[in-house]
Amino acid sequence: MTDRFVYLDNAAATRTDERVVQAMLPYMTDKYAVATSQFGYSLGLESKVALDRARDTLANSLGASPDEFVFTSGDAESSNMAIKGVAAALGEKKGRHLITTAIEDFPVLYSMRALERQGFTVDQVRLDEQGTVDLDHLASLIRPDTILVSIQAANQEIGTLQDLDAIGALTRERGVLLHSDATHTFGRVPLDVQQTPVDLLTVSSHVLHGPKGVGGLYIREGTPLVKWMDGGFQENNRRGGTENIPGIVGFAAAVALLTPEENERLRSLRDRLTARLLEIPQSRVNGHPTRRTPQNCNVSFRYVEGESVLLHLDMRGIAVSTGSACFSRSLEGSHVILGIGGDHERAHGSIRFTFGRYNEESDVDRAADALADVIGRLRAISPLGKE
């Protein structure tokens, strides 16, 4: 056995690619100026060129025009900006009703709760037990005063993909804006805003081997949105504040390094791990068996609790995540597992494995071997499952 650290929590954060770090460094040392207007001094113009280039890269990767892409501090800010920005723009003019799902990541979930406290009404669209949106139910929820539908492109815990083409076709036909948190599909599952009728799309660098603290929001031209952060006229007057040039350059560099081949490699590692884990008795996959992000595997093991699993794996140099209440800061079980109709025991026993660029086949075997051993040990001391 080697001492190699097996990191399988790439949906939480990724190692920044060395090539990305190299691309960023000059913008912290020699090229430190703020991006100035075209009439500014030359050092500022260099930053402006870097910013424009990065914006082109991001916009191109989505099939958008550069004017439609705003850099932010990450997916949390992007989703806040989209949801609260639309609510502020349309709350008085059109209505105060929004639609989302119960399994969104926290920025969407809590932006919606914040709006509810302000008197907006939020409905949750029904999901099947794999976490897929019920389109007929969505259609029935849309009202004349509905201003926004926010449905993630894929789930952060269980990886289930939503059919954004169908959802977008529906929202467009009904004249409602669509926001989607695409943090876990961007760069991993192709999406072109010319094909997919989405109006606002959240993306982030930290899950793509780019730096933390930078993300973006695609805003389709003409989408009503109140300015999110007051300040200067940066980001096409959408977001005030000095641009994070090193971060933005890093984000673009990270996106430029993504390839379909890499995604296929992640999928094959993931499939191999899933198959190995399902050999463990009383285990089940959470989320859709095939319509899921290539990097995500999520399995629940009965009769064991996730924090204990996580701790045992950590002792063996393996990093994973769990939906157990004991692990969470809120002491509540995964709202995703519960949101797809799972019970608390399934949430407590759920383990998420997410792959990234630096994972190898040997990681899969190390993780699968360790899991089989750890689950066996914990079940041996568990009062459950023995009758």
Binding site: Y303, V304, E305, E307, S308, L311, H312, D314, M315, S324, A325, C326, F327, L331, E332, G333, D343, H344, E345, H348, A380, I381, S382, P383, L384
Partner: protein
Amino acid sequence: MTLPYNEIVMEYFQNPRNVGRIEDPDGKAIEGSPACGDMVAVYLKVNDDTHRIEDIKFESYGCASNIATGSIITELAKGKTIEEAREITWQEASDALGGLPAIKTHCSVLAVDGLQAAIQNYEERKGLITERVPTDEKEIRRRLKRVMNPQAGLDLIRTKTVTSIELDNGTVRIALDMPADHQFANNVRDEIIEKIEPLWDVNEVQVIFAS
């Protein structure tokens, strides 16, 4: 490596002592439930003459602090008389482990509750309860704190699910703010009966759901 638990806790978590079951135990209790994320079972073998705990085993479904506390209480209790073991507190278990994170109090209290409940179970079985205190609302509430609302993952008292408790000549009526067709209504009723019925002066437990 920086871990949330100290070395003693990690040692007991990784190599728990006295794990397993005792066939035909003299006392036995299960506290918690899979829904709340922590569950502990305690089994006792007690010498009827000396009242000394000759053997004690535990099982745990839960986080590291639950496993470690379950393990340490078996060591603390083994060889003690039931009168002595009854005095073991959560604080003593926590101290023996060199301290536990505050947020994990609930999970570790459960193991101590398990020991106390197993001792009580032994005493009830052997008819050793000399001073029979009449059951009051306080005692019922105390026991209901160990019944989980599986949907919330928290106990019935904390979730304010219990709307009233009536004691009437051996009959206990517990009204819940939960409809009878609730997904977990039957589980909750069974758990309530399991916790309340063993009380010496209780003949019948009625669980009344909201209409």
